[in-house]
């Protein structure tokens, strides 16, 4: 995206009063005022453009009834002795609005699949060959909220997929920047940065007629060491081209059904591997 520069007139016609002011050394003040006005105009233009790009992305994504993509995510954690470490994982997401989604996540310590068919949410631990099911009725939006608020298992990048994405992303935003563009996976994407009180986030949006999110980075600036969570999206497919559009859960042979309580007690089924020990030090 090309950053729009404010248009300034090539020539200025000075009146008698202005000539007099200049003679009295007001030149610097005038130029400073003009520069400030120019910068303010540029900043406002950048904000408006950034919000429009974000609106365009969220509207486009929400309008896709079927979509699928692959992702790579990095979750940074900060150790008690201030070492920043990154947990890397990859996976795929396939969804069919309003109420079906299937997501996988693989890392060095966990290989899980989540399936939601509009009435039941299933979490399958492939390595342990166990699965947990909870009834959740409604849309993907209901699922995302319930997992986040009730079960404290927020779905990564869900911010970008919901119909209310624009409102969620812009609520309580205190600063907006349009930073031009960057290239991600060979695709040129518009680069935007937003600030909230507790977090900053950046988003790269693909240029062209498919403005999908290329990368999304959240910085927890209120957490010691300002760790980041990032997710990079690839293989974006929509409509009939979306893959993995089967949302029926069939337990693998020998899979054991477990309760939510059992799931919580299992090692290596959460966000952190078991050799990462949580402390209440902040």
């Amino acid at each position: 995206m090309s950053a729009k520069m404010p248009v300034l007139p090539n020539t200025l016609t000075l009146g008698d009063g202005l000539r007099e002011a200049l003679r009295h050394g007001a030149c610097c003040c005038l130029l400073a005022a003009m520069a400030a006005a120019s910068m303010a105009s540029k900043a406002v233009a950048g904000e408006v453009e950034a919000m429009a790009l974000l609106k365009g992305m969220t509207t486009y994504v929400a309008a896709q009834r079927e979509l699928s993509f692959r992702y790579d995510s990095d979750l940074e954690v900060v150790t008690s002795d201030k070492q920043r470490l990154t947990l890397a994982s990859s996976g795929s997401v396939s969804l069919a609005r309003p109420g079906k989604i299937r997501a996988t996540r693989s890392s060095g310590f966990v290989d899980i699949e989540s399936i939601f068919d509009g009435s039941t949410f299933t979490l399958l631990g492939k390595d342990q060959n166990v699965y947990m099911q909870i009834p959740i009725a409604g849309s993907i939006e209901v699922l995302v909220d319930e997992l986040k608020d009730k079960y404290q298992r927020p779905l990564p990048a869900a911010d970008l997929l919901l119909p209310k994405a624009y409102a969620a992303l812009t609520n309580e935003v205190i600063d907006v920047k349009d930073l031009g563009s960057g290239v991600i996976g060979g695709v040129e994407c518009d680069h935007l940065a937003f600030r909230k009180q507790d977090v900053d986030y950046q988003i790269w949006i693909a240029q062209g007629d498919r403005p999908y999110p290329c990368r999304y980075v959240i910085t927890a600036k209120e957490v010691l060491g300002s760790p980041q969570y990032s997710v990079q999206i690839s293989d974006w497919k929509t409509g009939a081209g979306a893959v993995g559009q089967d949302f029926t859960f069939l337990p693998p042979e020998g899979a054991r059904s477990i309760t939510l309580k059992e799931l919580k007690a299992m090692k290596d089924m959460g966000e952190l591997p078991s050799n990462f020990v949580r402390e209440d030090n902040q």
Partner: protein, 69 residues
């Protein structure tokens, strides 16, 4: 970690398992089982994976968007 993996590999070699029915993936699994990864002690809260609902001081209070907070 690397030294421990070398030890594990040496152990496998010593046991004469290489070249038998031990497949590359199985040998990797055996090495992983023998090697204890380093432990990291991490603080709370974890990094939020969502900004939805994040407002002033919500991250520190584990209010939103944070896994198993």
């Amino acid at each position: 970690m690397t030294i421990m993996k070398k030890h594990a590999t040496a152990l496998i070699l010593a046991l004469g398992l290489v070249g038998t029915a031990l497949t590359p993936s199985w040998s990797s699994a055996v090495i992983n089982a023998l090697v204890t990864p380093a432990q990291a002690r991490v603080g709370r809260p974890l990094t939020p994976v969502s900004v939805a609902g994040v407002g002033r001081r919500t991250v520190r209070r584990c209010a939103v968007g944070i896994y198993d907070c």
